[in-house]
Amino acid sequence: MFSRAYRVAITVPPLLWVTVFLLVPYALLFCYSFWSVSPAQTIVHSWTLDNYREFLRVNVYLQTLFRSMWIAARVTTFSLVLGYPLAYYLSFHAGARKDLFYQLVIIPLWVSYLVRAYAWKTILGSDGVLNTLLQYVHLTKHPLEFLLYSPFAVVLTLTHIYTPFAFLPIYASLEHIPRNLVEASHDLGASPLQTFWRVIFPLSIPGVLAGATFAFVLSLGDFLAPLLLGGPSGIMISNIVVSQFGTAYNWPLGAAISLCMLLLVLALLFLSENLEKKWSFR
């Protein structure tokens, strides 16, 4: 049907893109993770599992990984708790203001991540907006130190940043629920609350799963928020990877940790996709 030249013309660019920007880097990452660093700080190109052993042996790595997962889990929970009601309100009750509210949710995504993270630094710092306000109204005498440079600050910032990512798929799934199903439920005697739990929520589960996956995976791999706002107690696994590729100059260990993270994320995506399939009825 299409000419050979046409097929080549449309196939080659994406293939090239995938090869150069995905396959080659991952292949390099894979190789590096089995290499090692000599005392003279050069890469030794001989195969070894030492990097993986190191990752599993040193407490701080696994602790940081678990802390990252714990932070990501909290971010996911809060994003869903904030994103779901927002999506529900927009989809079912916003009426003519729907488009306006939708834009208001989306606009923060156009603002640089860095700006938003810095904004929280300005708000949470010891002479920041929040502490100044609290002291001004005499709720506190001294600045609250735990606000900034803590896992709390990281969770707060990541929740702010990733709530739209949780919101969007939930909103899409709610928008796809035929409204006559809601009417049918009311018609059959179900109150609005019963209708929500028996019809609307079950049908929005694929969106919730997709939103949760976004929030969890994105915040698990985040390194800027912990870097700017986390302090020593808020370090996450990506910060360790960054430091291995940077100051520590241990690319092989960094690659091994990255690869473990990658496998973890792929497993999560696989799981979430299967669950979504189970809960979709179209």
């Binding site: 009417e183 005697g189 028996r198």
Partner: protein
């Protein structure tokens, strides 16, 4: 309660005119500046099959949605069994709906769909199961109890939707063009089934359709809506043989509209003339094509009010059992007539109709200002 002597009850229970199940009084509705329903009043009797018939945009679906509670009227009230229905939210009304596209819950099995209403009413599990089973048996869908609605055909979904509504034993069942998505054969079959099911369960049906033939086949009474106004409400036979307005005559069945001038007890339309008991002035008559027939060979009973005329056949359309002919009279009048099937109708014919079959009709209500 039958022995109560309360005057209110005694008055409402007049013999011969039982209290209607549903009373719609002066319902008006606009969407923005668009009037959709203009002062609709009608009643549905216990066990009646009432069809709301109308073209798209006539307001028939809106009226149904107001009864179900999905829309609220701007003014007017609805009573069911003497109590205000329109003040209740839809989930408190003892009314169930069969939706146009069935609206089955895709995440529930057929049996759970049917049991939904009983389940939200928190009935015991065994009762839900047995009643859902019975309802499915009634619509011949027992074999599909554990299927998901997406895995069954449109006609089967239709039956499940019906079972899901009927299992709640509503006092009134609303059906919003439930057959419109089915193909013609299945549709005819479902019409018959639906009608006999309605007789069997004895629940009042309010059935919305745009298909006049469907309305004629199924209904006890037809309420014809036009541009938000109630054009006529009557039994199918009555509405067909005595259409109140020109619109009704044309919408239900096929008809010839004769624009006449009445003078001294005689109606005159071009060269045709017959005796009528109407005051002088312009008048409009509906004459069904099947009431025009080839004239009997001898004009023996000319004293009976029979109108005879000659017509030239212009067109012939085969309709199976009958032929629809278009004949031109000498004076330019063109009439449709239904005649027995014959290979080739040709040439000029001597035709006649009984003056009593020419039914005087009014111009449509909408043209008179929708009062």
């Amino acid at each position: 309660m039958a022995t109560t002597t309360e005057p209110a009850v005694a008055r409402s229970a007049k013999p011969g005119s039982p209290e209607p199940l549903l009373s719609i009084r002066g319902i008006t509705k606009s969407f923005g500046k668009n009037p959709v329903l203009r002062d609709i009043s009608l009643q549905v009797a216990e066990g009646e099959f009432l069809t709301i018939l109308g073209e798209s945009g006539s307001g028939k679906t809106t009226l149904l949605r107001i009864i179900a509670g999905f829309e609220s009227a701007d003014s007017g009230e609805i009573l069911m069994g003497g109590e205000r229905l329109d003040l209740l939210p839809p989930y408190r009304r003892r009314v169930n709906t069969v939706f146009q596209h069935y609206a089955l819950f895709p995440h529930l099995t057929v049996a759970d769909n049917v049991g939904y209403g009983l389940s939200v009413a928190k009935l015991p599990k065994e009762e839900i199961a047995s009643r859902a089973e019975q309802a499915l048996a009634k619509v011949k869908m027992s074999a599909f109890a554990n299927s998901k609605p997406t895995k069954i055909s449109g006609g089967q979904q239709q039956r499940v939707a019906l079972a899901r509504a009927l299992v709640n034993r509503p006092r009134l069942l609303l059906l919003d063009e439930p057959l419109s998505a089915l193909d013609a054969n299945l549709r005819r079959q479902m019409q018959v089934e639906l009608k006999s099911l309605q007789r069997e369960v004895g629940i009042s049906f309010v059935f919305v359709t745009h298909d006049q033939e469907e309305a004629m086949v199924m209904s006890d009474r037809i309420a014809l809506l036009r541009m938000g106004g109630l054009e006529q409400i009557a039994s199918p036979r009555e509405i067909y043989s005595h259409p109140a307005t020109a619109y009704t005559a044309q919408f239900i069945g096929h008809t010839n509209l004769l624009r006449c001038e009445v003078k001294a007890g005689a109606a005159r339309c071009n060269s045709l003339s017959w005796r009528v008991a109407l005051p002088d002035g312009p008048a409009l008559f509906s004459l069904r094509p099947e009431n025009i027939r080839p004239a009997a060979s001898a004009p023996s009973n000319s004293e009976v009010n029979v109108v005879r005329f000659r017509g030239k056949i212009q067109q012939q359309a085969f309709h199976g059992a009958t032929e629809l002919l278009q004949v031109a009279c000498a004076d330019g009048l063109s009439l449709a007539l239904r005649a027995a099937t014959r290979e080739n109708w040709q040439g000029e014919l001597e035709l006649e109709f009984s003056a009593s079959d020419a039914v005087p009709v009014q111009e449509s209500t909408a043209e008179r200002g929708g009062s």
